[in-house]
Amino acid sequence: MSASVKVATLSADSNDAIEVRDLTKYYGRPSKGVLAVDHISFDVRRGEVFGFLGPNGAGKTTTQRMLTTLLEPTEGRIVINGHDLAHEPYPVKRQMGLVPEESNVYTELTAWGNLMFTAQLYRVPRSERAARARELLETFGLREKREVKVEDFSKGMRRRLSIAMAIIHRPTLLFMDEPTPGLDAQSARRIRDLIRQLNAEGTTVFLTTHQIEEANQLCDRVAIIHHGQMAAIDTPERLKRAFQRVQSVEVALEPDGSSTGPVLSLSRAESRGGAEGLTEAQDHGKTLAALPGVTTPVKMGDKWRLYTEDPSALLPRVMDYARSHDLRVVSLSTLGPSLEDVFLEITGQQVGVVRHGTEENAQQRRGMGRRKGGGR
């Protein structure tokens, strides 16, 4: 795998907004405590959106809290915009904005009151405060609600206000912890657009998330942390290329001559209901899994995704299978590895899919998961 993990010594590279070396955090004494972050090292370049991914409990939030001075590292060094965080936190704090996982707004104050308080907290000049707050309320679609107490705001509105508060002082570095989970699609998209806009204006964004697709859409580079250790750092596309073995063929089939009927593999079986239909779906899963070259078949809604190292060799076999079983191919496509596939490979997890495979295939896939060590 080409994904690389930097473990170099601390440099004075002015292109880096964040330089982290051997960062370690124990909760409790190192001899008895819980090791949350284990000697991680990485750099975040100025002007990039850097995604920090990992499963729950991997050490993402702990790392971000150390980077934002809220938590003291047990070991290691953090340099932000050229300032050592342990010795010069003040100038760093002035240049950073923080959007935590929970929207930490003052519910007893109005949107305007929250913005004014934050502006004062970051010493935004009095002459600029009101204009900046008005501009942000406009940008974040909260102008009409400026005098409404935040306790009456929806979750999405609180989130937007929380982001507005984090950038009122025009920080050069913005930390965001899970900015979109729990929001409706419209609010989530709005926030993603705002992140792009902020980045286009020159803000470096450190995005902690477990939303893989969000990271794929937004991030210039991503780091994957697992069990407190850095498992990979690279651009999303390079990471995907490093995992070519998780390419796949996605196919939807239906019984030939019944174009109005439901698509088979899911479908004909389920629409019939009962044990017979389910058995048929499982049978198809087993048969597809048995095709030469398939490492794992995964049912994805009304389709089957067949993981393979060689999609071009698998395609004719799928067509042969359809013909021999009197099935019509509704759709057929080859897919490269998604960032989610990469994430799953590295962390050895399954997210949001039901696997239908033989025990052999399951073992094979577990074996792929174990190969993550080679990428470190």
Binding site: Y27, Y90, R94, N104, F117, T118
Partner: protein, 254 residues
């Protein structure tokens, strides 16, 4: 360089004031603040004073010491764990200011609440009972310094790394209540045994009560300048355990 430090000092003081104003707006009517800061001192005063013979001046002096003590020392223990739970305390900790500035801001909130609440017994005394104040200057200085000292005293408990108001109120009550009995509020200093009077000198509340005795009935026992000095110094010293516990919080992640 000097200009830079002056600017920084100005910024830090402005930030402490900003925090205090925000907290006053946000927390003045929260139920725990009303319960622990407003009602408790009055209930305590009446439960210990009813059917006891004392002059109106003495009663008002005691009530003033009691209200400043309880109200000021309740603000931090109510506000900080609430902010920790809401995540808003992180906003303050991540802001560009020193920890002392943050604590000073929080101390000012307790001071303000205590001064505001002490207006109630003072008004009752002056307008309702016709009490004469012996030394208005000492009264104002005593109320202000006493409130500040007890506010930082409360912060020492509020800095315990927890998000639960109850976890802070328990040790806070455990310390505050015994202080009432050794500080000359319910038993005057001159009536105490020698050894309890020695103990009384360790409590800052003794000096606040003595100042009120100087200021209202005009009958304090200690030197009023000593009272003022002790309140000022203890107000500063109580910030030490607060900063140490905040450092511990940063290690634990609260």
């Amino acid at each position: 360089m000097k200009e830079g430090w002056l600017q920084r000092l100005r910024d830090e003081l402005a930030l402490a004031w900003t925090i205090a104003v925000k907290d006053i707006k946000v927390y003045y009517l929260t139920p725990p603040m009303i319960m622990f800061g407003l009602m408790m001192p009055f209930f305590m005063f009446f439960s210990f004073s009813i059917k006891r013979e004392m002059g109106a001046e003495v009663g008002i002096a005691r009530l003033l010491a009691l209200t400043t003590f309880f109200t000021a020392s309740s603000a931090g223990p109510v506000i900080i764990p609430l902010e920790r739970r809401m995540g808003t305390y992180d906003r303050l900790l991540a802001a560009p200011m020193s920890l002392v500035t943050l604590l000073l801001g929080k101390a000012l909130v307790g001071t303000f609440f205590a001064l505001a609440v002490s207006i109630v017994p003072l008004s009752v005394g002056l307008l309702g009972l016709g009490v004469d104040v012996a030394d208005a200057g000492l009264l104002l200085a005593g109320l202000a310094l006493g409130s500040l000292a007890f506010s930082t005293f409360g912060l020492a408990f509020a800095s315990i790394p927890t998000q639960s108001v109850g976890s802070i109120m328990m040790p806070s009550t455990l310390i505050r209540w015994p202080l009432l009995f050794i500080s000359g509020i319910f038993i005057p200093l001159e009536e105490m045994a020698t050894w309890t009077r020695g103990l009384a000198h360790l409590s800052p509340l003794t000096y606040a009560q003595d100042l009120m005795n100087h200021a209202v009935p005009g009958a304090g026992l200690l030197n009023p300048w000593l009272d003022l000095a002790v309140l000022l110094v203890s107000g500063i010293l109580f910030l030490v355990p607060s900063t140490l516990m905040h450092r511990r919080s940063r290690q634990l992640g609260y």
